[in-house]
Amino acid sequence: MPDLLAIKGLRTGYGPTEILRGVDLTVGDAEIVAVLGSNGTGKSTLNRTISGVLRASHGTIQFQGASITSDTPAKIVARGLIHVPEGRRIFPNLTVRENLDLGAYRRARARRPANRERVFFIFPRLAERHSQLAGSLSGGEQQMLAIGRGLMAEPRLLILDEPSLGLSPLLVEELFALIKSINADGIAVLLVEQNVVQSLELVQRAYILDNGVFVLQGSAEDIRNNPDLKRTFLGM
């Protein structure tokens, strides 16, 4: 069986500057995989390319066995590849409920009410604030809304770009537990994080991105015990 997501020889950049310089990555069905790396290494660039917002200059991206390399973002969403971007990108001028409704704009529209109830069950705080404008939510609540909006599309693969950014340690722990339970429901997750230690506790496999290439990849355990990683990321 082919991988759910298979990226080969991917190169992208902005204008003449190349950011990703040939990366290969796979995510299997119902797998949870992390891409880790420090600031400015190209993690979000990778996500933007997978979701069709940026065009790859070389390489291929396959999802469920079909090429999505030159698909539009809307088509990619329709296939069930959902990207919850860095910085949440919720609709501040719409209510919480309207934000969720637009999560099902392209996909799973018929099951919108049921999925909304499910998201409200996962995030009771969103249920309490369903008619509040999303722009007036706290940072943590906005992150919940961004994930909730992604779940409304019934994703096959959920890409989360630094979901822990700006959250308190307690909330990060809660969030990671939640990501685990989303994955346990059979949704594959590609988690992009700087939070190396906690991410490695959560995922099965991980890739370490540095300067546009994967310098390290393997099972979470192998990576955790890798002396190079300790030196570069954990300062040990």
Binding site: V53, P92, E98, Y105
Partner: protein
Amino acid sequence: MLSSVILIPAVLNGLMTGAVYALIALGLTLIYGVLHIINFAHGALLTAAMFAAFFAHQWLGLDPYIAAIGLTPIFFGLGYGLQRFIIGPAAHGEDRNILLVTLGLAVVIENALLYAFRADTRTINLPYAFNVIEVGSAFLAVPRVIAFVVVIAVAIALWLIMRWTDTGKAIRAVAKEKLGAELSGIDVAHIYAVTFGLGTACLAIAACLLLPTYYVNPTAGNAFVLIAFTIVVLGGMGSVTGALIGGLFVGVVESMSGLYLGESLGQIGIFVMFILVLLFRPSGLLGERT
């Protein structure tokens, strides 16, 4: 002081003129609020719509109010196509380019109309154009009353679309958060075109409301769009409610200054007020304070 016998009719007539201004401003502010551009082709498209309504009457014998039923979807399609296939692709994502493209479009449309129909000013004669309705001490022209009612209905319809349909929600989402919208599967180019289409459809309705009492020539739309532009600024750029209230307000100001300064100076009041508001409240009457 003028007595209420003169004042009330002036205010009512002002509200009715203002309603059509508001409708034209609504289209302009909608496009500005979502695409973040000033559509310089708005005036030329209004003129084109007035010609369309004129010839619908001349050639097909259609009453402008009937013609509106057909012209509204036609102009929606025209606006959609212009944005989707000309303005959008020609702009390459640069706002500055969009500005130039709409300006170029305005020049092309105006000159095409001038070439086809010359500079002649045309009017149509309708049996009811001079009928009046008596409301208290005021006599209100029937076409103006119809215009007022239609504009309110259009505003309500637009509000319902924005509030309750997926497309309406997507329009509001794209206005503030384009990337978030794209990643939710919203086709931004399509939503831009729908918005431009709605703005252009407003013009078709406005043209049909104007024609029973107004003339048409290849620059007829420009005077209205100049006023509409001041309304958009007064109401707060991009604010739909602001455009509506601002339009009615400007209509009353015009009517009142006509009363005090003489009919031909009515519009001076608008621009004096415009400058005053900009001096003391630069973000507009209803705009957020900056």
